[in-house]
Symmetry: C2
């Protein structure tokens, strides 16, 4: 087939994915929302979520506008390094690609947030019938996000390639996605934890009312936060990884293999989408005593299996004798996917030793709980790093030795292989907040315990899938950063970044420091934002008469507003550091130092991401483990210590840890964009 | 002058330093120990300290013996890379250098520990007369350690160079020092915190008796621990830095500048020793209302000033036109010394904002205290890393541009400049445990409040000097690691370590992970060792009748024994990882990957060291700040929260953080030793 025909296949796969998302959404919307109280609650969450998204995108608007205008004045031929035909690109290529990237990511965010916040009460209502029905509704709600992310990303990348015929220039598509991801991930992370801490600390601890109690003014903000963090944040994060990886793979493929190397990543993406759509049909519970986790696992495994088998044939078709090496490289990505998910469970599940040890350490108080949790988190970096290192080394090796010296392309293919499953991973991850909200609505609408039992089962599964998706997001961010790093070096025409050059060491040290500082900023931001929320909740309890008796309605919207404003304000500093560091290092110290900065930031960023998300997950589950009755259960000193650990873990796992992914990718994307400019300067 | 004559000057400077240490010790020993009770307590601490050292060195003995024997079978000519004459070295050169390094470091440890534990009661007794007298005795007690470390290191290095005439081979001197440092730092860190936590948790919290109460069975172990951590640990750490840096500088100097480049670092060391000896006379209090901190600062500043001026003339004499660049490079080291000390204070002093914010966060409970402390620690990495980066970049630049392209030598000189002040830094650091113990003895011997007031003043100063010395140790470890890294590349004949080679990235990621795992191991080790101690203290309170009434004497020796055994046992795993990683990476993945492993480990090791030691210091002082009466003072919830933060900070600042220094240096030293072997294999 002609190469352009193949690109059209990828483009249509993207479109099909978007259409499927629309169909799933329509099916979900046909379900009933239950009682008027349930509808009212769901609407409040929906409105809060939209308020956040609107404000976020409104804040982004001037930034996007300025960048778009700047890109109009950048000569696209600057990006001609290593790719032919870039000289003849129209002046609009860069700004349009950038805009498409930003808008596509924003659209995916809207689609996903509409879907998850519209599915929550419907899931609650379905849970009144059966667990199986509730799983179906909530999973479909999540699948809308998954298919939107994968579909919009693939359609965007392949569409721009069809229009401009040059992969180099459309890295500004990835830049657009990066800008949105940085906001969504960091801002979303701050939002969700500010609301969570505010709701918990004043509601549960001070006022002594249960979780998800409608009398708590921050309860809607808290429920919005679940969607803002896990759906919008994770979705934008993986959209960015998807866009950046496919473009980096296309740039590398173009320079090593020519047009086949450009087409292949797009076809892998197309296969991933078909695999995800097919696999959605396997996610169901035939029997109400079945385990929802198993159903979701089957969906994930079947997606990986279809991709694994399918890509073998695509590779054979495109690469002939070289296909085995490239295909095996891709498999390394799929294996990484599974291995990291498994390792996340080892360190964060309460059926495993690490979490049990943290629970045990809670017996001697909060200090020992914290020390043990930090130790578990720090140690948990080793195995996933080994997996990532094996994926990098292994994919390089097979593509170098079994294919015709295509090692670097092999690494990009491992990243692409991992990300091709993104549609399903995001679907499963977005299912989490739907289930979580469904439980909250059941509680707030005062439905019976049998409903709550069903939603609790889904919610418990959602916690596991969230942890696994976090592992996936970190692993894919690491491989994406590697791919961006390689593409950067190609784009800046660097043949070597020599660690024996002191300037390179300087760059490495600077890069490695950035994640430490951003993690600190994120944690401080949560502290400050939560403080504002606490003050507001206290004020409402104090000033609104009848609120505690359930006679007066709290002002939910104000709490939503506070979280939203705080999140937007607090993400400026880490955002500036992420964008500013590569620019300052690049223009001051040159392209070699900047390359090392990327390597350093990736190494320490991935380590901190794993450390923080696993420590946070482990603390959370140590608390839950004690709540099952171990060590005396709730009300004991051990439980109190575990609650403190969980509170420390919250900004770890939901704000600072996830912020590392867009951080290292944004740094890579910005570097890739300025690469030709600084290469010309130095 | 002839080069050998100059080397003799360095050797004699070392000897003079050792003799001065002996004189200081003799002067201190002439002082009275006060009452028989004071003598008894001091003797118990002395015996505990000796028991620890004896056991530690006994454990080391077989390891040292095996390495010595192995080195007998290594052909010294393997180390001929880049240096002439190595082929003609006798077969005994390697094992003898190694033995001398290990024994010298051990001797310095003994000298220092004897001195500080013999000075404590004498300081208490002097405090009965005046603050000034107490400062003089305690500082002299510390100076014995400082002068022993600097003197033995310089005499060892220059002595071996006089015997063998080749700097390459005597890197096994540094290896010997490394072996001891790893044990002393990691084992000492575990010892001191196990004893501290055990004494505090059961004594202060459970039994409600004050700190340093003689009824507490762990009180002697706790006092021993102060010496084991700050004196033996810090001393061995800086001995190792000193040895490794001077040898690395000599190797680099030899290959770039010839014999002058080899001699210069030795003369810088000699100057540092003279500067330290002269400056000891400035450390005194003329007036009893004076500030001991100012007196110590004058000692430190005068040391730096003498080195700064003196090296100008030495450089002019040796290098003529090239001297300015080399001298300025050295100044970068002295400035780093001062800047890092200042920054440590910014983040850990309770007169500054960071600590105050942690204290404020304690008002909302332990969780917010912990989050804020972690955020402060993470953020505090930025400025010191910038200082280190400026030192690396700046010293390279001046030596490259102002001297004849001697950039790499410039970096080594910055490290040497920083370390030349080690004699004074260790003296001031070792003064800390003397003052701390003196206060403990005053308490246990039930001396009046006016004595305690004087020792408290000294103790408060000791906390600051300990923090500053920690910063110094980290900064110098970073520069030492850089020097070792450069020397490694020379020794393995590497002309480039290219980050675009995936194997190099793999090495980088592995290296960056090691410090995370070792930090985890160290924290877990403290937890386990403290647990044993807690059990033992509880048992003694339960089983020894009359212990709480002060009628029966607790079994101090058993507690000392438990800490000692636990420390030795628990340091096996991190030690194995430190030594094993370079060997496995080197022989499996080759010299390029190993080079990157060193770079990655240095970057993340230094970051974790700064993060943990500053977070720990900040938590400690936030507690002390509240104890001054702020936020309600002792007995409030805020204070309880701050105590939890301090407990988490203990293994951070005294075990895991300091363990990073020997970790990155040992990895560098081992790599340097196996460099020629793996270079020949790959």
């Amino acid at each position: 087939m002609e190469t352009m025909t193949l690109t059209w296949i990828a483009f249509f796969a993207g479109v099909i994915s978007i259409v499927s998302a629309g169909i799933f959404l329509a099916i979900v919307l046909r379900e009933s929302m239950g009682t008027s109280r349930m509808k009212e609650l769901s609407d409040a969450i929906f409105e809060g979520a939209m308020a956040f998204l609107n404000r976020q995108y409104r804040t982004l608007l001037p930034i996007v506008a300025v960048i778009t205008i700047v890109l109009f004045f950048v000569d696209p031929s600057l990006f001609a390094h290593g790719a032919e035909g870039a000289e003849s690109l129209p002046k609009t290529a860069l700004p349009i690609s950038f805009l498409v990237g930003a808008i596509s990511s924003a659209l995916a965010g809207y689609a996903g947030m509409i879907s998850t916040t519209k599915s929550n009460a419907r899931t609650t209502n379905a849970a009144r019938t059966s667990l199986g029905k509730a799983l179906t509704v909530s999973f479909r709600g999540g699948a809308v996000m998954g298919l939107s992310v994968a579909g919009l990303a693939l359609a965007g990348v392949s569409g721009l390639f069809l229009v401009y015929g040059n992969p180099v220039v459309i890295n500004s598509f990835a830049f657009g996605a990066s800008a949105v991801a940085l906001f969504a991930r960091v801002g979303g992370g701050i939002y969700t934890k500010a609301a969570d801490v505010g709701a918990d600390l004043v509601g549960k601890v001070e006022a002594g009312i249960p979780e998800d109690d409608p009398r708590n003014p921050a309860v809607i903000a808290d429920n919005v936060g679940d969607n803002v963090g896990d759906t919008a944040g994770m979705g934008a994060d993986l959209f960015e990884s998807y866009a950046a990886t496919s473009i980096a793979a296309m740039i590398i493929g173009n320079s090593i293999l020519g047009i086949e190397g450009v087409i292949f990543p797009l076809l892998v993406g197309a296969l991933g989408i078909f695999a995800a759509i097919i696999s959605t049909f396997f996610v169901k519970l035939n029997d109400d005593e079945g385990n929802p986790q198993t159903a979701l696992n089957i969906g994930l495994w079947s997606t990986n299996a279809i991709i694994g088998v399918g890509t073998y044939f695509v590779a054979s078709y495109l690469f002939g004798d070289n296909s085995l090496g490239i295909w095996l490289a891709l498999l390394f990505g799929l294996i990484t996917n599974i291995a990291i998910g498994y390792l996340t469970e080892v360190y964060t599940s309460y059926h495993k030793k690490s979490v049990k040890l943290i629970a045990e350490a809670s017996l001697t108080g909060p200090a020992t709980n914290i020390i043990k949790g930090l130790a578990v988190g720090l140690r948990s970096t080793a195995a996933p790093m080994l997996v990532i290192v094996l994926a990098i080394g292994g994919s390089y090796y097979v593509a170098q030795e079994l294919a015709n010296g295509f090692g670097i392309y092999g690494i990009a293919m491992a990243a692409m292989g991992m990300l091709s499953a993104a549609g399903m991973v995001v679907a499963i991850d977005s299912f989490g907040p739907v289930a979580d909200n469904a439980g909250g609505i059941a509680e707030m609408a005062e439905l019976g315990p049998e409903v709550r039992k069903n939603t609790d089962k889904l919610d418990a599964v959602g916690n596991t899938t969230a942890a696994v998706a976090k592992g996936f997001a970190i692993g894919s961010a690491a491989l994406t950063a590697m791919a961006l790093f390689t593409a950067y070096a190609k784009s800046a025409d660097l043949s070597a970044i020599n660690l024996l050059d002191p300037m390179v060491v300087v760059g490495l040290f600077i890069g490695a420091t950035v994640p430490f500082v951003v993690a600190s900023q994120a944690m401080d931001a949560v502290g400050r934002a939560a403080f504002e929320m606490i003050e507001e909740v206290r004020r409402q309890f104090r000033e609104i008469p009848g609120i505690m008796e359930g006679k007066a309605k709290p002002d939910y919207a104000r709490c939503v507003d506070i979280s939203t404003k705080a999140a937007i304000k607090e993400m400026v500093a880490p955002g500036a550091l992420a964008i500013g560091t590569p620019i300052v290092v690049g223009f001051l110290l040159g392209p070699l130092a900047l390359g090392a900065t990327l390597a350093g930031a990736t190494a320490s960023g991935v380590l901190i991401a794993i450390f923080m998300s696993n420590a946070g997950g482990a603390w959370d589950n140590a608390k839950k483990y004690i709540e099952t009755g171990v060590h005396g259960g709730k009300g004991t000193d051990a439980h109190a210590a575990a609650v403190i650990g969980d509170t420390v873990g919250d900004p770890f796992k939901d704000t600072a840890g996830p912020a590392m992914n867009p951080l290292i990718k944004v740094m890579g994307t910005i570097s890739l964009i300025i690469a030709p400019i600084i290469a010309a300067l130095f």
